[in-house]
């Protein structure tokens, strides 16, 4: 982690509640993990339909205008800020789950850009809603200039969420900006000592909210600077997935599609229970425009028929790895 440098005058760390690492918890974790292994072995000997529980969809979504509290840049690339933690007033949602997302459209946008943009929910506290984004396209580049007091229209929480089994050893695999939903996952998980993260990234580590995850759970960051680094990261994921599959653990992944494809192949190889959070272009976010579909296997039904395709927005964004087909059309 030698490449980890705190951002100059703005400390991104201050955005998230920090807890000191608890050594006692770690010791406890070892005892628990042994106990859990015994339970897991018993459970594994009784295969049931719940190996892949149906990913349920919640419907308490609402559409509200929220004020921007601040828009904090993370790191710099060639003197330019490209990564931001957008902190908004807390919406009045009854509940939300890590893995869900929101659609965001700044109120100042005229009709030249019609669509809102989808963002994973990074965290919700009793003070704020935090989203994490990278300025890559027309919309997100314009959102980089959002400042305190500006208003944005937000609808959500949308979609389903990652499986959370407090006692199951869970491997979190994140690629680049795909780290965003795991911040909330780690911070809302009741037993974070069961979590482990492998994070692959291309930009400097201080561009991502890695510290707020690393302060709670064990994990490693892999900076891809040359082609060999990617091979090493894949090799590491291969070993980790094998290890967690052996404990009947859970593998959760979020990142760019080529990364998800690799995770899918590796989890198939090791017969790991694996969920993938997909990212696609979206217009409505609620299942109407059919612009965000992914190919799905025939055992996944949409509206009571095996349609072969499902919307990422309201049938995902989280899918069991064996239910999606990520091949290019």
């Amino acid at each position: 982690m030698s490449d980890y440098v705190m951002a100059g005058d703005i400390a991104p760390r201050s955005l998230f509640i920090s807890y000191p690492k608890n050594v006692q918890l770690r010791a406890c974790a070892y005892a628990r993990s042994q106990l859990r292994l015994i339970v897991m072995r018993i459970r594994a000997s009784h295969p049931s339909a719940s190996r892949y529980p149906k990913v349920t969809l919640m419907t308490n979504e609402q559409c509200t205008t929220l004020k921007v509290l601040d828009n904090v840049p993370f790191g710099q690339i060639a003197g330019e800020h490209l990564f931001f933690a957008l902190r908004l007033e807390r919406p009045t949602w009854k509940s939300w789950q890590p893995g869900q997302f929101v659609m965001v459209r700044p109120s100042g946008w005229a009709l030249d850009m019609l669509w809102a943009r989808p963002f994973s929910i990074c965290r919700v506290s009793n003070r704020d809603l935090v989203l994490f984004f990278q300025a890559v396209g027309r919309g997100t580049r314009r959102m980089a200039s959002l400042k305190s007091g500006d208003e944005v229209l937000v609808w959500g929480p949308l979609g389903n969420s990652f499986e959370m089994e407090p006692d199951t050893p869970t491997l979190l695999l994140a690629g680049g900006i795909g780290i965003a939903p795991f911040v909330g996952y780690v911070h809302t998980h009741p037993r974070p000592w069961n979590l482990h993260m492998e994070f692959g990234h291309r930009m400097p580590l201080n561009c991502y909210p890695y510290e707020s995850i690393n302060e709670k759970i064990m994990g490693d960051a892999h900076h891809e600077q040359k082609p060999e680094d990617l091979a090493a990261f894949i090799d590491c994921m291969d070993k980790r997935i094998e290890e967690f599959a052996g404990q009947n653990g859970l593998v959760l992944a979020c990142g760019p599609t080529p990364f998800l494809r690799t995770v899918q192949q590796l989890s198939q190889k090791h017969n790991a229970r694996c969920q993938l959070s997909l990212e696609t272009r979206m217009a409505c976010g609620v299942g109407a425009c059919l612009g965000c579909v992914t190919k799905v296997s025939d055992d996944m039904q949409v509206n009571g028929v095996a349609a072969g395709r499902a919307q990422v927005c309201n049938h995902g964004p989280v899918f069991w790895a064996h239910q999606v087909n990520l091949s290019e059309d």
């Binding site: 979504e61 409505c284 509206n303 395709r309 059309d329």
Partner: protein, 308 residues
Amino acid sequence: MYMDMRLNLPGLPDFSFKNPILTASGTFGYGVEFAPYGDLTTLGGIVVKGLSLAPRAGNPMPRIAETPCGMLNAVGLQNSGVESFITEKLPKLPWRELPVIANIYACDPGEFAELTGVLAREQGIAAIEVNISCPNVKEGGILFGQDARQAARVTEAVKRMAGDKPVIIKLSPNVTDITTIAKAVEDAGADMLSCINTLSGMGVDIRTRKPLLANVIGGLSGPAIKPVALRCVWQVSRAVNIPVIGIGGIASAEDVLEFMLVGAHAVQVGTANFLRPDFSFRLVQEFEQLLQKMNITDLEEFRGSLKA
């Protein structure tokens, strides 16, 4: 504050909309997707996502692209088939208080007739809107909507099976003279026209040298096409004697009045539903407020009163 915006349609004594704001096919799902964001029964009506006899997988991805003041789509009419709609979606809609209009798509007149037959039996369906912007596979793939004779044949086929359900023909703007098609389908028995479907278009990426849509060509919608839509509604409403529903880039209450000024009886809101999921619900209220502000008490008097 309440103003009666109920709309009675000439030639259709048993049919009315409680206000002139409907949602356009393909932009409002099956309605249920938008139920968390507003009261569906406040809308004038909804036109559901295009239905075909058999489920259709639709086109490969990417299917949508954002363009200046608009968007392109080539979804390819993905839907899980008419039977699935009737059993899974329709029962969840408040169809007793909300006109639910079924939009249908088929590849030949016989299939159109069969689809209509299925829907005509459903009490929950208020009317049938026919998408004629599709190729007739049995006659060399020419688009029904681009040929007056073919458009008339589809209209007759649907009308024959529709029973007492009004039949709305959705016209394509991708024609030399839209009034020719409009008159042909009126003569073939259409009860209403909706005008317009998307404009044919495409987008490209100079860096990847790829088209923005996997299908290369798609349909352009959104505020970018409003001037074209206004022109079409103006021409069509003067050419026919049946009600015209205006569609194309409506994004404000003022836009609704613009379409009425050029002759539309009602409108459908499409791409603007993506601006925010409660857009159409808010538009009904904003439209009522605009009428009060402008002191318009008689929409029938205002309609088609363009001083040209």
